[in-house]
Symmetry: C2
Subunit: 375 residues, 2 copies
């Protein structure tokens, strides 16, 4: 994450873009084009003077960023331009997404805007409370999968993972309302299966159904009625504002999945992972954010992972911190090492390295014991 300039104007939303200029392109001109494109969408001579002063983005700084790239800080008048989450995304990257060589690398949030965004409603402490993990240890999450299994078999996997001591037992994010495991029946059976395991172990494992759907609101109601304390959702599949509404209206914990987000993660054009999965997913109300850990089956580097962790946990107005949830191919045996690196306020998402062991309960328990022992 690049440094953010310290704010002066109270309502200024400061976007730091890293610019990659084609040969002969002038970075100052490119920055000025962004400031116009994202606000008035007109060339300077066509903008009425009174509007220009209030509304056009102000290019505050353009400086070399190494490797022939440039860092530009553009300040937008948040009060004049942003009235909700979709418009926030539009202002930061809407039209310029269609250009090239522009990476949104950091956001400097004005207090006025942070006051209008919910942030995590449970946050790190609230999620710990939900699964009774008050002691400073990392939490464990595992996905119930694959799609195609019957409700009965999915519920049995839930029970096994909970028996093994996994804190958060979540739906695979591709499980929705398919005929093989219809949503309502799945939720009710999986909640019951985890409750049975909890009764046996004295634990407080939590089942999180995937509510990502056009019918998000109805699914959330089913989940709540079934007694779920938290849900899984993919913000880019349903729209970020739908997650904001979910977080603020449901009272349920929100675990965010990064499906589709990778489209933004090109190194020279897009939105940096720590901004999208960190700042933005946290601001709209995610209590935990899943991302692909370094060394797994997705190509994130360790610097990116650490930057996401920092974005989710750093002080940010009145917003609570959220849990980073590294996953995407973490091997169970490596978890203790990752705890060392990422700290206790982390949820480790383990999937396939449990499923490729013959006994799911034993595999989960081995992992849970290792994590609890070292804390």
């Amino acid at each position: 994450m690049v440094d953010e300039p310290s704010g002066t104007g109270a309502d200024r939303l400061r976007a730091t873009y890293v610019l990659t200029c084609a040969a002969g392109d002038d970075p100052e001109t490119k920055a000025r084009d962004i400031a116009l494109e994202q606000t008035v969408e007109l060339p300077e001579p066509c903008v009425p003077r009174d509007v220009a002063a209030r509304v056009v983005g102000a290019v505050e700084r353009v400086e070399p960023a190494g490797d022939g790239r440039w860092r530009a800080v553009i300040a937008y008048d948040a009060a004049a331009l942003v009235d909700d989450v979709p418009q926030l995304l539009n202002l930061l990257f809407g039209n310029i997404s269609l250009k090239t060589g522009i990476l949104l690398a950091a956001i400097g949030w004005p207090a006025s805007l942070l006051a209008r965004l919910p942030g995590p409603q449970l946050g790190v402490d609230g999620l710990r409370e939900l699964c009774g993990a008050h002691e400073r240890r990392p939490l464990l999450c595992a996905a119930v999968k694959p799609v195609g299994l019957s409700v009965e078999r999915l519920a049995e996997r839930c029970r096994q993972l909970a028996l093994g001591g996994i804190d958060l037992v979540k739906d695979d994010h591709g499980l929705t309302d398919q005929p093989s495991a219809p949503f309502r029946e799945r939720v009710e059976r999986c909640v019951a299966a985890v409750a049975r395991a909890n009764a046996e172990t004295g634990g407080r494992s939590v089942y999180l159904p995937n509510v990502t759907a056009g019918a998000l609101h109805e699914r959330v109601e089913v989940a709540r009625a079934a007694g779920c304390g938290a849900v899984l959702v993919s913000p880019l599949l349903v729209g970020c504002d739908a997650v904001r509404r979910l977080a603020t209206a449901s009272g349920l914990g929100v675990l965010a999945h990064p499906a589709l987000a990778g489209a933004f993660f090109h190194p020279d054009h897009g939105i940096a992972p720590e901004v999208l999965l960190g700042d933005i997913y946290r601001a709209i109300g995610s209590d935990g954010v899943i991302y692909p850990n370094v060394g797994g089956r997705f190509p994130f580097g360790e610097g990116t992972c650490l930057a996401i962790n920092a974005s989710l946990r750093r002080p940010l107005g009145r917003l609570k911190p959220a849990f980073p949830v590294p996953g995407g191919g973490i091997h169970a045996a490596d978890v203790p090492r990752w705890v060392e690196r990422y700290g206790n306020d982390t949820i480790f998402l383990i999937g396939r390295s449990l499923y490729d062991q013959p006994d799911l309960v034993a595999a989960a328990r081995g992992l849970a014991d290792a994590v609890r022992r070292r804390s």
Copy 2:
């Protein structure tokens, strides 16, 4: 757009991916990884055999695509996997968005899935009807801008554009509910201004407010109550399923804006513009889709533009055709040439080249006359 394989399995959704392989990577393995990642999210040995047969994507073909790239066709069981629009996007590109070198280049739609998607509710004929343009001529669209102007000044620009003969007078997509021009007041005044102009000219210009917002539903209701026949919306800002609901429930025409979509348009990783803005935006219910024309201020090539046009207008199940809406820097003087190239079932979106003329009415009228004369 690449060729689509002809379908055999009635419920098979066929995705054609263009793969760019890193040195030493095997395209067959990469294709197989996609088929697993997008369905069961487990390695093959961990997938129960009965599930594998039904649910794992089938790699039907992997063949060279030139320039060291490969074309892979993967068939997914739509009935077993897709239950709504968010899940459709997830299946096509959710997790693999986080990988590299995978471009979704074409979709082969099964009839069963097309039957569950609305497509344009007005379509080309319905939008023509709405603005009384039955004769085979292209339509003209212009944006009312910039953000920062008062309602009064925006309404006056609406009146001028309608007086000049612009068929579709739309909000700039950055106009939402900012203090300078609150939504409800803007809509009511702009509708009235266009009606006054229509009364004067005998024309049927239509004002389209931007309803992109968290409060999409409420904005649509305001627009309808004010007498709007169509609205502007940015699908990726509000979520594609919100557009589906808007199209099916409101009875209003839907003009889709590509804000944020550019994140997907990297040549070797993402979703091809003709698939996202063509197939998908049309399938969810857009009657017209704005895209940045070649030669404007965004870097689309002519081949991409023609492919988008084809995707929006080609026969596709029972889905009506939608209007391509090239914009983003089309010069008014060039419109006749573009009509030649793109055909009459096109809406030309002209913005700044009208605003940089001293008299907005005269500028619009010159353009409208040129288009009507040559048709």
